[in-house]
Symmetry: C2
Subunit: 123 residues, 2 copies
Amino acid sequence: MPTISVEHQLIPAKRVNGSAVYNQAHEKIGRIEDIAIDKRTGKVAYAILSFGGFLGLGEKFHPLPWSVLTYSERDDGYIVPITEELLALAPKLDVSELSGWDDTESRDDFYTYYGAYGAKPYW
Amino acid sequence: MPTISVEHQLIPAKRVNGSAVYNQAHEKIGRIEDIAIDKRTGKVAYAILSFGGFLGLGEKFHPLPWSVLTYSERDDGYIVPITEELLALAPKLDVSELSGWDDTESRDDFYTYYGAYGAKPYW
């Protein structure tokens, strides 16, 4: 089982970015490109996952609710309780939309999809 | 007065990092080197401010509670309601301590110091 290091409860964003993401079988399925923060509340709204190849024109990001990720010391990365196949079916985001992203129209879609995997609304 | 863009309520961590920090007279006093995230709750605990020269051996970071920062579109950066002189007197952190930082012993110091400037505990 993944465990959370209680000695180090804080982590710098630069260390989160680039971290590997694994499924529950500890197979690497992608990596975290960035995290999206709610300016007003200071809560991490999403970890922005890339997977299935290099990012290019028309490539999509997969925003994952932070509450779906569990840090695993064993893997030195994050575990998600979802398969790559189901991730591929999840709502996506264009790379070009990420900077200054407004999710008020789409957050219900993201959080409904991941609700079955433990996502709790950040707002 | 600084305003928050309601169109863009989410901001990627990579855009926060490197942002300029200003005092209330809109004078640049430093920049954000990184943000420290509480792994368990997904809340931004601190913006890590550098100021007064380049980071080198023995240089100190200034962790600022996120709730003390206000995003300013006019300045394309963050405003803090504190002078450079009072920042210099605030609790500091060694650069070497940042990665995997445990603030359970020190967070009361930081949040008490910045309490007068509107800091609200993240925990």
